[in-house]
């Protein structure tokens, strides 16, 4: 960075002459020639030489024997020329063994590698574990099917059969044949066999070990190297790269595992916050303070300081919303530029204050990254597809149109390229504007180093459009006489074209206006997708030739149609969605209104769940006071009003007279007329039961019964209390206070049935046997009840179903050793389901996967 550079500069100011320096050192060395550590004097001949007694001589250049000398010496004798060469060679080739890493570091690396390996190894089993966990039934011992189906037939032991002459001859012929065909096949076979039969494991292990070693050494080397690097710039890049990588990972996670992505986001956030919070670029450090002194006189220093400040601001600044700036980038840029011109470009503080207004949430910072990556990915994808498409077409067309040198796809390609070109032109324009108008460092650095979001958006949009356009216009362009430079193929051609189109930028700009006028009905697309660019771009597409205008009109029409279709579709979708929402709302409403459903009420507290009064959404749950009686009776109250028969209507049910015969005991003469009979008998009955009015009795009974269970208010007023004031005093106030009010009783089951009394406490004993807890995996009462609704016993379901319902989860074969699972199981396909239930489950599984 600039700081380091500065330091380097300052270091380099005092110039040192290396020769003089060496001389100096030598002369200093001459001062004391006496060696402090004496060479060991050999008093006795010893076989072993101790390395600790080898003392490096003080002056290296004088006394040591250099390798060159040895080599020279060896060269002299013809006998040892080779040896000398080898020696010199080795000297060049040799690598000095590096200092081993420190023990903890080495161990750490080893551990991480080991951990990763084990993790990878274990993760192979995940699917198997999952499968077995949900398996309906497992049978042990596991039967291993042979995976390698193409094994050679077993060989017969030698010498057991006597070969006939014919067989011998055939063998010879076969051998010859094999030779003719080449030995490749047999070799392969043999190798395989060897692998299978001998040392298979050994080799695998060796390989593995070697791999590990390599990995380890690589890692250690890299770590060492990295640690050595002092460049701040490098570390900065490293950090940035890391961040990018993290963001990439985050993008991936976002698609696959949103929760993990959130966590990742948090970590990224944290790192950013850390950086932001550590006051690194606030120019408050010693370095900055020192520079500030000099800043008065030195322009460069000022610049450095300003850069630092800008950096800090960048970190703290709100990221500009990329999506907003996509469409009207140019205009806004210009405007911005105009604004910025008034500002002193070298005054970082002023800029900061301006930016500070835009500063927003921290999250925006990351949002930018995210957007960038998503866009970039999408662009790349689109580009690839587009390329493939175009290439395919190119081939096809070249085949079809033999001599015709302008295949349709090319034409379209060209059009698209021209699009790109315009795009680029616009961008470059904006860039130049930026450069010219403002010395806005942020923006320029943005546009240089990172893609500006607006640009990207545009680019993406264009790409999409191009794709569409290609599809739409392909057929037409093949037939038109649209002149474009002939294309050979591939990248080269493309490059050429690009150049060309870039040159054509200015004519585009001119034609744009006219074309816009030509358009009969400007299409305004106001869909959520933000597709208004689609229409605009088509105006830009046609290049210099005028005769293709018709084509473009056609294309436009086509596009319009498509857009229209899309709009229709979207609107339909919207409608549908709205309808769905409405239905949902209605459902919700319904469910709220009815007491029957246990499912919907979030207010119903869950027994095993948290007692916190926040729902999953984080919204505070408003507890609805629910009447338990009502809940309990809800089932009984089910019948709607239509079902309930008004007791007063009972009488209205017309009695049907049965044509009954008269028994022998009755004098048949009395009953010669039906009507007569009715009246007479009724009369007699009425007379007989004159005293007891059965209906009134029952009603009284019913009232009594109902009163028994009713909660009545208790009046606590004492007689005479408050009445001393005489008449005319209202007692209301007092009585209200002195009446103990009880909660109103829940509606009874017999409320609407006047001829029925139902005992509300009738199932007290039964209740002791009921489940009053919601067992673990269940969230709602209804679900739990539904899950135990069906019996599984032999006396309720057919025998086959009973056996299926009660089959054990594991079956073990008696008298066999149950070995642990081995690797073969990883590649083994799950067994085909045998019975109906397993088949259905398998189908269900498949459907689920498909729907995913």
């Amino acid at each position: 960075m600039s700081a380091s550079e500065n330091e380097n500069q300052s270091g380099g100011e005092e110039e040192v002459d290396p020769a003089a320096h060496k001389q100096l050192l030598r002369s200093i060395g001459q001062l004391s020639r006496n060696q402090h550590i004496r060479k060991p004097t050999r008093s006795e001949p010893a076989l072993a030489r101790d390395e600790f007694h080898l003392v490096k001589p003080l002056s290296t250049d004088v006394q040591t024997v250099s390798m060159g000398d040895v080599v020279n010496l060896l060269r002299k004798t013809s006998k040892h020329i080779d040896a000398g060469k080898q020696l010199s060679k080795t000297q060049h080739q040799k690598k000095i063994l590096q200092k081993p890493l420190e023990k903890p570091v080495a161990e750490r690396i080893q551990r991480t590698i080991g951990y990763e390996k084990v993790k990878k190894d274990l993760s192979r089993w995940d699917a198997v574990v999952e499968r077995n966990r949900v398996a309906e039934q497992q049978v042990f011992p596991l039967d291993y099917e042979e995976v390698h189906a193409d094994l050679p037939p077993p060989k017969k032991p030698r010498g057991t059969t006597i070969k006939s002459d014919l067989m011998l001859e055939m063998e010879a012929v076969e051998a010859k044949l094999r030779e003719l065909r080449g030995t490749q096949h047999t070799d392969d076979d043999e190798a395989k066999r060897q692998e299978r039969l001998t040392r298979e494991e050994l080799i695998a292990r060796r390989k593995e070990l070697a791999y590990l070693r390599i990995k380890e050494s690589q890692k250690s080397a890299r770590a060492r190297q990295r640690n050595k690097i002092k460049s701040k710039k490098f570390h900065k890049f490293l950090k940035r790269e890391k961040l990018k990588e993290q963001i990439k990972e985050f993008e991936l996670l976002q698609k696959t595992n949103p929760e993990a992505a959130l966590e990742k986001l948090e970590t990224i956030e944290k790192s950013r916050v850390l950086e932001r919070a550590n006051l690194r670029h606030k120019n408050t450090g010693t370095w900055a303070k020192n520079l500030q002194v000099r800043a008065k006189y030195d322009k460069d220093v000022r610049k450095d300081l300003a850069e630092q400040l800008a950096l800090s601001r960048e970190l703290t600044q709100k990221q500009k919303d990329a999506a907003e700036s996509s469409s009207d980038d140019e205009a806004s840029d210009e405007r911005n530029g105009a604004d910025k011109e008034e500002v002193d470009p070298f005054n970082p503080w002023f800029k900061g204050s301006k930016k500070a207004e835009q500063v927003d949430e921290v999250a925006e910072f990351l949002g930018g990254y995210r957007k960038y990556w998503t866009e970039r990915n999408a662009n790349e994808k689109a580009l690839e597809e587009y390329r493939e498409d175009s290439e395919d077409d190119l081939e096809q067309n070249s085949l079809q149109n033999g001599e015709n040198e302008q295949p349709g796809s090319d034409a379209s390609n060209d059009v698209d390229e021209s699009n790109e070109a315009t795009n680029e032109a616009v961008n470059s324009n904006s860039g130049s504007e930026n450069d010219n108008v403002s010395g806005n460092m942020d923006q320029s650095s943005d546009s240089d180093s990172e893609f500006s979001a607006g640009e990207l958006e545009k680019f993406k949009a264009k790409l999409n459009y191009q794709k569409k356009n290609v599809e739409n216009c392909r057929g037409k362009f093949t037939t038109t006489a649209y002149s474009s430079p002939p294309l050979v193929n591939g990248e080269h051609g493309k490059l050429k074209r690009r150049k060309q189109t870039e040159e054509e930028v200015s004519p585009h700009a001119k034609t744009r206006g006219t074309l816009k006028k030509k358009r009969k009905q400007p299409i305004v697309v106001t869909s959520a997708g933000g597709t208004d660019w689609v229409v605009e771009d088509i105006g830009e597409t046609p290049s210099k030739s005028v005769d293709i205008d018709d084509i473009f009109d056609d294309a436009e029409n086509l596009l319009q149609e498509k857009v229209h279709e899309k709009i229709c579709k979207l609107s339909k979708d919207l409608e549908k969605r709205e309808q769905r929402k409405q239905i949902k709302k209605e459902k919700k409403h319904k469910s709220k209104s009815s007491d029957l459903s246990f499912k919907v009420k979030a207010s119903q507290p869950e027994i095993d769940e948290e007692l916190l009064e926040t729902s999953a959404n984080g919204e505070p749950v408003i507890e609805k006071p629910q009447n338990p009686h009502r809940l309990a009776n809800s089932k009984a109250d089910k019948p709607s009003k239509q079902d309930e028969i008004d007791p007063s209507n009972i009488a209205q049910i017309k009695p049907k007279s049965l044509r009954t015969a008269l028994p022998d005991m009755v004098n048949s003469e009395e009953f010669f007329d039906e009507h007569d009979l009715n009246e007479k008998v009724q009369m007699t009955i009425a007379e007989a039961f004159e005293d007891d009015d059965i209906v009134a009795d029952f009603e009284r009974d019913r009232e009594d019964e109902r009163k028994k269970t009713a909660n009545e208010d208790v009046d606590l007023t004492l007689p005479g209390w408050g009445s001393w004031a005489g008449c005319g005093i209202s007692k209301e106030k007092q009585t209200k206070r002195l009446i103990l009010k009880f909660p109103k009783e829940a509606p009874r089951r017999d409320d609407n049935k006047k001829n029925v009394v139902i005992n509300e406490d009738g199932n007290k004993k039964l209740k002791q046997h009921l489940v009053s807890d919601l067992p673990f995996p269940f969230k709602s009462v209804q679900e739990y009840e539904a899950s135990i609704r069906a019996p599984i016993g032999r006396s309720f379901v057919p025998e086959t179903a009973f056996r299926m319902l009660t089959r054990p989860a594991t079956v073990t074969k008696l008298g066999t050793v149950i070995e642990p699972m081995n690797d073969e199981f990883l590649v083994k396909a799950p067994k085909a389901p045998r019975n109906a239930v397993d088949k259905r489950i398998a189908i269900m599984e498949k459907n689920k996967k498909k729907s995913k």
């Binding site: 948090e266 970590t267 944290k270 919070a277 769940e609 948290e610 007692l611 629910q626 338990p628 809940l631 309990a632 089932k635 009984a636 019948p639 079902d643 009972i650 049910i653 009695p655 007279s657 049965l658 044509r659 009954t660 015969a661 008269l662 028994p663 005991m665 009979l677 008998v681 059965i694 209906v695 029952f698 019913r702 049935k753 001829n755 029925v756 005992n759 406490d761 009738g762 199932n763 209740k767 002791q768 046997h769 009921l770 489940v771 009053s772 807890d773 009462v781 679900e783 009840e785 539904a786 899950s787 609704r789 069906a790 599984i792 379901v797 057919p798 179903a801 299926m804 259905r840 269900m844």
Partner: protein, 523 residues
């Protein structure tokens, strides 16, 4: 080869309700489990629906010629036109020992007759092989088979006696005195009796114990039947009210005013859907007994109905005087329904019962017993494990053991038998509320009164001090307890420890960023 399609209606019948939704279950694993369970249940339902093909027996019927009605056919004519085995099922017994009561066993194979004047006869009515016949030399009010044809109970003048099928007296229950009516609840092994004093008692015949006995306060009970759907006893009386009784509650579970005149007869159909009542107002009403609503139909008869019964296939039979009339449907649509069959028996009818799994109506009169053929009344397809008319001795024993093992405790007798598979929401609610309230309990107010001490011993200051000490101690104790309880609740509902990959927002470990946290002030 593909299996034939299953009738949707049949499938629905066996599915037993709505599917459980996986949304109501917590983890992915259990969601999967639940889904799979539904597959099993569906399979079971399908198997059951497929098994319905085995019900290939068809019920009998009579077709009348033009200008004739089936009611005109007498038993003689019917017998002449049916096969020999069916013809043997019509017979008359003229007996001399007064008005008779009758009872068939659950499988419909055996018949028990009890004459008011002491005559008891138990026999296999199909083969006419008699188990026992005797005179108990006492008034017999009612008779009832127990769970098997080897034993029966007899309500005699004072007490209830038990006999085996040889006629040997096994038991005499003196606590059940002056019993008028008896009902045996086969799945609960309860013999329910109603006495002339208004006492209802339930005797568990498997353990020989009276599990419940109380006064219904309804006076003499002469009309009683059981609801086979929920094993509740239905009694009728002079008040025109049907009361439903369970052994667990001393008050009726429900009371329905069915007639504005005294009742004369009562019956519940074997499926427990309809209640048929007859009153002195010469009407016969059919009620929905599950909803306790109705009447679904009101029929006017020439005379007051004295006995009613409903067959397995819904044939309604009632008697007025000495005439038995049968109607094809319990609830008839036509304005002036004409009887399906009509038979004049030799005397006043005292008992009327359809024989299960047979097209036979047993009629007991003052002068004997008549077995009438009623084509299409009985269920033609029987479940051999449930009730097997052709049961061997071994099967009977097996059945007895199974029935005993599957005996339903009497606590479960209630109006809605399916309630047992529900959740007690009320208690659940209470539990939740209790748990919640633990978090917000207030220390109780302690009213401490110091012991009165002799003058000069305590002093008011000391007393006040003591009072405070006690109060504090109590409060502390309470707070401690409350905290413990609270902690327990929190412990139960604590979030599970996070996985290794999860980075918690607030970790216990110190991080660099902790410096930005708001620090606690040290006091």
């Amino acid at each position: 080869m593909r299996k034939p399609e299953i009738d949707k209606k049949l499938l629905k019948k066996h599915l037993r309700g709505e599917h459980a939704d996986e949304k109501g279950v917590k983890t992915k694993f259990f969601k999967e489990k639940l889904k799979r369970k539904e597959v099993y249940l569906e399979y079971a339902a399908e198997q059951a629906a497929r098994a319905e093909i085995l019900k290939n027996e068809e019920e009998g019927f009579i077709e009348a010629d033009q200008d004739e009605s089936t009611a005109d056919y007498t038993q003689k004519e019917i017998v002449q036109n049916v096969d020999i085995t069916a013809a043997t099922k019509h017979f008359n017994l003229s007996l001399d020992f007064g008005p008779y009561r009758l009872r068939y066993t659950k499988n419909g194979r055996h018949l028990l007759l009890g004459g008011r004047r002491g005559h008891i006869a138990a026999f296999d009515w199909v083969t006419k092989r008699i188990h026992c016949e005797m005179n108990v030399m006492e008034e017999v009010a009612d008779v009832s088979w127990l769970h098997l044809e080897t034993m029966f109970a007899c309500a005699q003048k004072n007490w209830v006696y038990f006999y085996d099928n040889q006629g040997t007296e096994i038991h005499c229950i003196k606590r059940m005195s002056r019993v008028n009516r008896m009902e045996f609840l086969p799945y609960h092994f309860l013999l329910a009796t109603a006495s002339s004093e208004g006492f209802l008692s339930w005797l568990d015949v498997s353990i020989g114990e009276i599990v419940a006995q109380y006064n219904s306060k309804a006076g003499d009970i002469r009309i009683m039947c059981q609801n086979p759907y929920n094993a509740v006893l239905c009694t009728g009386g002079s008040k025109g009210v049907v009361s439903m009784w369970s052994p667990t509650v001393r008050e009726p579970l429900a009371k329905v005013l069915v007639h504005s005149t005294p009742m004369t007869a009562i019956a519940v159909d074997p499926k427990g859907m309809h209640l048929a009542t007859g009153g002195l107002d010469r009407s016969l009403k059919v009620w929905d007994i599950r909803k306790l609503s109705g009447p679904l139909a009101v029929y006017k008869c020439g005379m007051a109905v004295n006995e009613i019964d409903i067959s397995q296939k819904g044939v309604l039979a009632f008697s007025t005087g000495n005439i038995c009339e049968m109607y094809k449907q319990t609830v008839m649509e036509s304005e002036n329904p004409s009887p399906y069959l009509r038979e004049r028996v030799n005397d006043y009818v005292y008992g009327l019962r359809f024989c299960p799994y047979e097209d036979v109506l047993g009629v007991s009169t003052g002068k004997g017993f008549t077995s009438l053929l009623v084509p299409g009344s009985g269920e033609p397809n029987f479940d051999g494990l449930e009730a097997n008319p052709f049961q061997t001795k071994k099967q009977r024993r097996e059945h007895e053991v199974h029935a005993l093992l599957e005996k339903i405790p009497m606590d479960l007798i209630s109006l809605e038998p399916n309630e047992i598979r529900g959740v007690d929401v009320e208690t659940l609610q209470d539990k939740v509320n209790a748990k919640k309230s633990i978090l917000f309990v207030k220390p109780p107010r302690i009213d401490f009164k110091s012991r009165r001490k002799m003058k000069g011993k305590g002093g008011s200051a000391n007393a006040a001090k003591n009072k405070q000490i006690v109060k504090d101690a109590k409060r502390k104790e309470f707070i401690k307890d409350a905290k413990k309880a609270r902690d327990k609740v929190f412990e139960q509902h604590k979030e599970k420890s996070t996985t290794e990959d999860f980075i918690p927002l607030e970790s216990s470990n110190a991080t660099v960023l902790d410096r930005f946290k708001v620090k606690k002030k040290n006091k």
